[in-house]
Amino acid sequence: MTDDPLAPVAPPVQLPPRLQGVEAVQSVRTPFRLEYHASSGQHMAAFLRAMKQKQILGERCPTTGQVFVPPRGVTPTSGLETTELVELPDTGYVESFCITRVPIPGRDDLELPYVSAWVVLDGASVGFIGLVAGIPADEVRLGLRVKAVWRPDEELRETADNIHHWAPTGEADVRIASYELIGAPGRPPAERQVRA
């Protein structure tokens, strides 16, 4: 070991005559590309078909009664297969958010700064990520009540992308009482929030 922390550890490479003095290749393009024909699974298919009708489906846990969205076929609080799908309203509140000021490659449609939020629907026990717009970024706050802004009817397909963004409803903020883990048995979702 030398004293210089930046000195190379491996001994220097000895090149053959034809490579000496030649400008070395230092990097190589090795693009990765794999194609798939993905399938949704049964419960996600139900969710996506409902999306096309501007309906949001969740699944109810048979053990705790908590509601998870989107439905994946097994609720993590039970480990049991889902037996009940429930329709949720397209209103909820912001449980957390993040303001981003740098662009994403491939998303030139996003106006900067943009706000990603953790949106919890009324009646759901978990949130999911969504874009919040229609309000200056520095006014977005925890507890902000929002409603889905759907794409025009003619653009609706079987996709969660049917919801373009979430916009403030103008109602009073929700006061979030605590961020308890969803695992507490017998705790209905309504206890997570208290109206201001």
């Binding site: 490479v13 090149l15 053959p16 290749v25 190589v28 693009p31 194609e35 949704s40 298919a45």
Partner: protein, 150 residues
């Protein structure tokens, strides 16, 4: 539970990786750009192609990069009758492990030949170099039977 069928969608996973090479792999790719092949000497005197940084058997650092030939012997081959997207050719060809003259380990590449009957373990093949090269294993377009046009 839901009784309508599942939905499907085409999904492409794509990443534009560019890898740094270091001096040993760099030497291999630089030689390819210049139109020849190099390997690296092991402590026992044998030559590894492609070269690698540490001896696979002893973990000793390897440093002596040496030139090898661009023709050699097919040590194994497997006919690819239905080439897949992204593989060297659209028309059938053989995969082969080719021990280049001066090397002790074979290199994986494609051999263009008229059919499986044209392939045999032990036959000699030579590299076909692309006119424009960038420092990539595909700077060698493929190998062909040495008997072909000499």
């Amino acid at each position: 539970m839901p009784d309508e069928g599942v939905l499907h969608a085409d999904v492409t996973l794509e990443y534009p990786f560019t890898r740094s090479t270091g001096p040993v792999v760099g030497a291999f790719l630089t030689a390819l750009r210049e139109g020849f092949v190099v390997g690296i000497e092991r402590p026992d005197g044998t030559v590894l192609v492609p070269p690698c940084e540490y001896d696979p058997a002893t973990a000793a650092p390897l440093t002596e990069v040496v030139e090898v030939g661009d023709a050699g012997v097919v040590t194994s081959w497997c006919w690819n009758g239905e080439p897949r997207k992204g593989q060297p050719f659209d028309a059938p060809y053989a995969w082969a492990l080719i021990r280049l003259d001066g090397a002790d380990t074979p290199l994986l590449h494609a051999v263009r030949a008229s059919g499986p009957d044209a392939l045999a373990t032990g036959m000699r093949v030579r590299a076909v170099w692309r006119a424009e090269r960038e420092g990539h294993i595909c700077d060698i377009e493929c190998f062909v039977p040495e008997a072909e046009g000499g």
